[in-house]
C-alpha cells in the first residue's frame, strides 16, 4: 500500500494543477494576463429587459478601461453574455468593488441583484451599492467616453462621502441586512454632472456626485432623500462624517464644520404608542469668515433649530411613508424591543421628541492665537 501511495498522490496532484494543453480538470483556472478585472458592475432595466454593463480596471499601460454591455434575461446569463462582448481578455468579477443600479432597475426591485451577489461565488457582499438618479448605470459606466474610468470616480465618491458627505455609501451586505431585518434600506444616490470646476480632485467635465439617498422598501426604490434630509438620515443612523454648513446667525452667515456622535435614541414610554426620545449633541467648529461675528450662544441656537427641523422633517417622512429607513428598529432592539413585537403601524403612530444641543467652538483663527506662542502681537 505504501508503494502505491506516493505515485497515486502525485497523480492526484497533477490532475489539480491546471497545467497541460487544455485547461485541465480544474475548471476555475484563468491565465492572469488575460483577466480584465471588473471594478464596476451596472444593472439597468430597459422596457422590462435587464441590461448589464461592466467596467474593468484601467490597464497597466494606462489604456482605457474595457467597458462591455449586453441585454439578458437574468444576471448570471448576462455575466456570461458580457464575456462575449469584450474585445480582449476575459472579464473577472471576483474583485467587483461597486454595483451601480439605474433608477428604473431599482424601482423594479433590487432583490434579484442582492440574491445574486449572495449566491454567486465571484461577487461579494462587500461591494458598495449606488443608484443613479434620473439616469442609467450604463450612462455612468460609459461616462464621457475616452479616458473615463468610473472606478476612479466612485472611489473618490466613496472617500469623500465617508469624510464630508451628507450621505454615506452602504455596501450590498448592509443593504441586504437592512432589507431583511427592517424591510427598508437606504442606498447612496449619484447624479451625473457636467462641471466646469474640479470635483473631488477629479478633472473638470462629466463626473458623478452624491445626491442624497434612494429609499428602498420591500427591495424597491420608493423615493429619495435630498440635502438636509439625507444629512439628517445619516445623522440618525450614526453615519454622518464632518459636514460644512452655512448658518444664518447674528445678522450674517457663519460657516461651520459639523460633526456628531450617533444620537441617543431611547424608548421613553410604550403606553398608547411608542414614544421615542432622540437626543443629539453635535459639535460645530467655526471655519468661515463672518462679517458680523455672532456670539456662540446665538449660533448654537440657530444650529439647534436647523438640525431639529431637519430631524423632525425626516422623522415625519419616515412616519408618513411608514418606512423605517432611519433604522429606529435597530435602536429599539438594543433596548430589548423585538421588531416582531411591534405593531405593524408602530411607525405611523410614533411620537418622536427631538432634542439637539450643539456645542460651538471657535475654529482655527490667527486672532485667537495672538499673544500666544504663535508669535502674534499681543
Amino acid at each position: 500500500m505504501k508503494r502505491l501511495f506516493f505515485p497515486l498522490a502525485a497523480l492526484a496532484l497533477l490532475t489539480l494543477s491546471g497545467c497541460g494543453l487544455s485547461r485541465g480538470i480544474y475548471s476555475n483556472y484563468r491565465a492572469i494576463e488575460e483577466l480584465q478585472l471588473v471594478r464596476t458592475l451596472g444593472l439597468d432595466a430597459d422596457d422590462g429587459a435587464l441590461v448589464l454593463s461592466a467596467a474593468a480596471a484601467r490597464a497597466q499601460d494606462g489604456g482605457a478601461p474595457v467597458i462591455a454591455r449586453c441585454a439578458a434575461t437574468g444576471i448570471p446569463q448576462g455575466l456570461d453574455a458580457l464575456q462575449l462582448r469584450v474585445p480582449r481578455g476575459q472579464l473577472h468579477f471576483a474583485h467587483t468593488q461597486y454595483i451601480v443600479l439605474g433608477e428604473d432597475y431599482a424601482a423594479r426591485g433590487v432583490g434579484d441583484a442582492l440574491d445574486f451577489v449572495e449566491r454567486d461565488i465571484h461577487t461579494r457582499l462587500g461591494a458598495a451599492l449606488f443608484v443613479v438618479r434620473d439616469g442609467t448605470a450604463e450612462a455612468l459606466l460609459t461616462g464621457s467616453g475616452e479616458g473615463w474610468d468610473v472606478g476612479d470616480v466612485l472611489t473618490e465618491v466613496l472617500a469623500e462621502t465617508s469624510r464630508h458627505g451628507d450621505c454615506c455609501v452602504f455596501d450590498a451586505r448592509e443593504t441586504a441586512v437592512d432589507l431583511s431585518e427592517y424591510g427598508t434600506a437606504l442606498i447612496c444616490a449619484l447624479r451625473l454632472k457636467d462641471t466646469q470646476d474640479s470635483v473631488f480632485g477629479l478633472p473638470p467635465g462629466l463626473t458623478a456626485v452624491p445626491d442624497g439617498y434612494g429609499i428602498l422598501r420591500g427591495g424597491a426604490l420608493v423615493g429619495w432623500l435630498d440635502g438636509a434630509d439625507a444629512r439628517a438620515a445619516s445623522f440618525v443612523r450614526g453615519k454622518l462624517g464632518t459636514v460644512t454648513l452655512a448658518v444664518p446667525a447674528g445678522g450674517g452667515t457663519v460657516t461651520v464644520e459639523l460633526s456628531a456622535p450617533p444620537p441617543e435614541i431611547e424608548l421613553v414610554s410604550a403606553e398608547g404608542g411608542i414614544v421615542l426620545s432622540l437626543s443629539a449633541a453635535p459639535e460645530a467648529v467655526i471655519v468661515g469668515q463672518t462679517e458680523t461675528k455672532p456670539d456662540t450662544r446665538s449660533l448654537a441656537a440657530a444650529l439647534d433649530a436647523q438640525l431639529r427641523e431637519a430631524l423632525e422633517r425626516v422623522l415625519e417622512r419616515a412616519r408618513a411613508e411608514n418606512c423605517d429607513f432611519l433604522a429606529l428598529t435597530r435602536a429599539l432592539r438594543t433596548q430589548g424591543v423585538a421588531p416582531a413585537a411591534l405593531p405593524p403601524d408602530w411607525l405611523r403612530t410614533l411620537d418622536a421628541r427631538v432634542t439637539v444641543h450643539t456645542t460651538v467652538r471657535p475654529g482655527y483663527d490667527m486672532d485667537a492665537r495672538a499673544g500666544t506662542d504663535g508669535g502674534g502681537a499681543a
Binding site: N28, I121, S180, R330
Partner: protein, 359 residues
Amino acid sequence: MTRRDTISPRQFVACAFVAALSLLIRRFPRALAERAGAAAVLAAPLSVLPLAVGLAAAFALCRKKPAGVPGLLTDTLGQAAGRVLTGVYGLWFVGYAGFLLRSGAERFLTTVYTGTQPWLFVGIMALVCALAAAGRCAPIARAAMIFRRGMLALVALVALLTAKDLDLALLQPLKLSDLRAAAAAGLEVANLLSIGFFLGFLGARLDKPVRLTDAAPWIAVLLGIIALMTVECLGMFGQELTAMMRFPYFMLVRDLTVLGALERLEPIVIVLWFFPDFILISLLLHMAAQNLRFALGARTHRLLAPVCAALAVAAALALPGGTDQQQTLSESLVPLLCAAFAFAPVPALLLAAAFRKKL
C-alpha cells in the same frame, strides 16, 4: 512484526474534536438561526445540559467497559447479536462516509468550484481517506492533534478579522421567551456528541480510558467555537439572512480583508476545512472496515477499507446532488439517523445489560 495500534485519550479527544468541526460547518450556524433566531447564540450554552446527561451515560459505560462499543455490544447482547449489530454499524459508517463525501464535494461546488462535477472531489477525497483508513488509526489520531491546532488558529483569525464589522444590535433582544427555541437548537448542538459515540468503536485501541477531565475542556472549546461562529454570522448578516444562506460562515469569510490589502481568502478557509473532513471520513472508513472484519470474521481490515471506500463513493454518487436535496439530507435525515444510531442504543444496551446482569 506488527506494531500496536493504540491511541492516547488526548488523541481520541482530538479526533472527536476535529471530526465535530466537520459536522458543525455543514449545519451551523444556519440551522441555529433558523430554529432560534437571535437566541441562536444561546444554543451552544444551553446544549450543556443534554451534553452533560449524554456524557454521564457515556462515561458510565466507558468505566464499566473500557474495551469500547464492540465489546459492549457482544457482552450485553451475546456474540451473535453483537457481531450482527457491529456489522450494521459498519454499514452505517460506510453510508455516513458516503454522505460526508458528497456533502463535502457539494460544499466545494457551491462555494468555490462552480461548474465542476462532484465525482472529482468525491473520488480524490475517497482515495486519500481509503489510504489512511487501510492503515492504523494512530497516524490519523496524530494528524488530528496537528489539525486541531491549525483549525483553532483559523477560527481565531477569522474572529479577529470579523470583530470590527459586527453589529451587536442584530443579536438583540434576547428574551426569556426565546429560551425554548434556543433549547431546541441546543439539542441540535448536543447531537454533535454522536461523533463521540461512533468513535467509541475505537475504544479497544485506547491505551487508557478517556476521563471526563480529558474531554470536558475540548467540549467547552467546541461549544465556544459554535457560539463564536453564531455571533459572527448573526452580527454580520442578521438572523434572517443567516438562516437563508447555505454556508453563512464562508459567506462571512468572503468579505474579509486583511489590512485592506489581502482579500478573497475564502478558498483558503474552505479548503482548510478539508482536514476535519479527512479525519472524520478516514475514521469512519477505518471503523467500518474494522467492524465488518469483526462481523465477517476476516483476518485483517486492510482489504476491507478500500472496499468500504468504494461503497462510500457509490453511495455518495447515488445521493441526490442538488443544493436543496443536500440541504434536506444534512438538515433533517442525516442528523436524525446520527441521533438514532448514537443515542438510541445506549438506553437499550443499559436495559439489556441490566437484564443479563452484565454491567
